[in-house]
C-alpha cells in the first residue's frame, strides 16, 4: 500500500456525521473501555480495580476485533485477561488487599497527577485529532489480522526480534524465580 492510495482513500471518506455500524460499535465499546479504565485508576477498592481492568482489557480486545486484528484480540484475552490480571489479583491477595475501600489508595500526588494527565490528554487528543481527522481506515478488503497473516509476517520478517524476545522472557523467568526465592539459605526447602 503506497501513500498515494492511502491519500486517495482518505480523500473520499465519509464524514463524521454519517458513521458506519462498525464505527458506532467502536465508539460505544471505546467509551465502555475508557470508563472501565478510569474506574481502574480511581476506585478505592483494590480488587475492583483489577476487575475493572479486566473489563477495559476485554473492551480493547473487542476493539482489536473491530479493527480486524483477530489474532491480536485473542492473544490479548489469553495473555492479559487470562494471565496478567490473574497474576495481578494473585499479587493483590498476597499483599492482603482488603475488602471495601482503602482510604489510602491514592497518594498525595493525586492533583499533580490529574494536572499532568489532563494536560497530556488535551495535548495528545488535540494533536491526534489535528493530524488524523481526515484519515480513513479501509476495513474492507483482505483481513489484516488473521493468524495466518500475522504468523507469516512474524516468522518471516520478525524472527530475530522474536528470538530476542524469547531470550528476554527466559531472563524474566529466571529473574522472577531468583527474586522470589527465599534468600535465607537452602535449609528451608519451600
Amino acid at each position: 500500500m503506497n501513500p498515494g492510495t492511502v491519500l486517495a482513500a482518505a480523500a473520499h471518506h465519509p464524514g463524521f456525521l454519517s458513521p458506519t455500524g462498525v464505527e458506532i460499535t467502536f465508539v460505544l465499546v471505546g467509551l465502555a473501555t475508557l470508563g472501565a479504565a478510569l474506574l481502574t485508576v480511581t476506585t478505592k477498592q483494590l480488587v475492583h480495580a483489577a476487575l475493572w481492568l479486566v473489563v477495559a482489557l476485554g473492551g480493547l480486545a473487542v476493539e482489536y476485533l473491530l479493527l480486524t486484528a483477530e489474532f491480536i484480540a485473542w492473544v490479548q484475552v489469553l495473555i492479559y485477561v487470562g494471565s496478567v490480571v490473574v497474576l495481578l489479583l494473585f499479587g493483590l491477595m498476597l499483599t492482603k488487599a482488603p475488602i471495601g475501600r482503602s482510604p489510602d489508595a491514592d497518594s498525595g500526588n493525586r492533583w499533580v497527577a490529574v494536572g499532568v494527565a489532563g494536560a497530556a490528554a488535551v495535548t495528545l487528543v488535540w494533536v491526534v485529532v489535528d493530524a488524523f481527522r481526515s484519515t480513513w481506515i479501509n476495513l474492507h478488503g483482505a483481513v489484516q489480522g488473521t493468524s495466518h497473516a500475522t504468523g507469516t509476517s512474524l516468522f518471516r520478517h520478525w524472527v530475530l526480534p522474536f528470538e530476542a524476545l524469547s531470550v528476554l522472557l527466559l531472563a524474566a523467568l529466571v529473574g522472577a524465580i531468583v527474586l522470589s526465592r527465599r534468600t535465607d539459605g537452602g535449609k528451608e526447602t519451600e
Partner: protein
C-alpha cells in the same frame, strides 16, 4: 473507520494510565496503570497497522512483542512487589523512599548512612511478621 477514533481512544487510555501511575499508592495498582498505558500503545499500533496495510505487519508484530514484554514485566514486577511487601510490610510506593535525601544534618555528610536503613524504623519488624504470616 476514521483513524481518529482509535487514536483518540488510545490517547485517552494512555493518559488514564499516566494518571494511575502518578496517583496510585499501591504498587500493584501502579502496575495495572502501566498495563493500561501499554494497551493504549498497542491499540495505536494495531490501528495504524490496519490503516497503513503494512505488508510486514510491523504494528501487529510489535503489539505481540509488547504483550509479551508486558507479561514478563508483570511477572518480574509482581515478584519485586511481593519481595518488598515481604520485607517492608507495605507496598505503598510513597513509603518506599529510602533513596530520598534524608532531612536534617545526617544528609550533610558525604556518605549516605541513612540509605541503607529502613525509614520507618519500627515498621520493619511488623513487616517481617506480616511477611512470615504471608509466607
Amino acid at each position: 473507520m476514521h483513524l481518529a477514533y482509535p487514536a483518540v481512544l488510545a490517547a485517552l487510555l494512555f493518559c488514564v494510565g499516566v494518571y494511575g501511575v502518578l496517583a496510585r499508592r499501591n504498587a500493584i495498582l501502579v502496575l495495572m496503570s502501566v498495563e493500561l498505558m501499554l494497551n493504549a500503545v498497542n491499540l495505536n499500533l494495531v490501528a495504524f497497522d490496519v490503516w497503513l496495510r503494512d505488508t510486514l505487519h510491523a504494528g501487529q508484530a510489535l503489539t505481540l512483542f509488547t504483550i509479551t514484554i508486558a507479561a514478563a514485566e508483570i511477572g518480574l514486577g509482581l515478584a519485586i512487589v511481593l519481595l518488598v511487601y515481604r520485607n517492608r510490610g507495605s507496598s505503598d510506593i510513597d513509603r518506599l523512599t529510602a533513596l530520598a535525601d534524608p532531612a536534617g544534618p545526617r544528609g550533610d555528610g558525604t556518605g549516605r548512612p541513612g540509605a541503607g536503613e529502613d525509614p520507618d524504623g519500627p515498621g520493619t519488624t511488623a513487616g517481617d511478621e506480616k511477611a512470615e504470616a504471608t509466607a
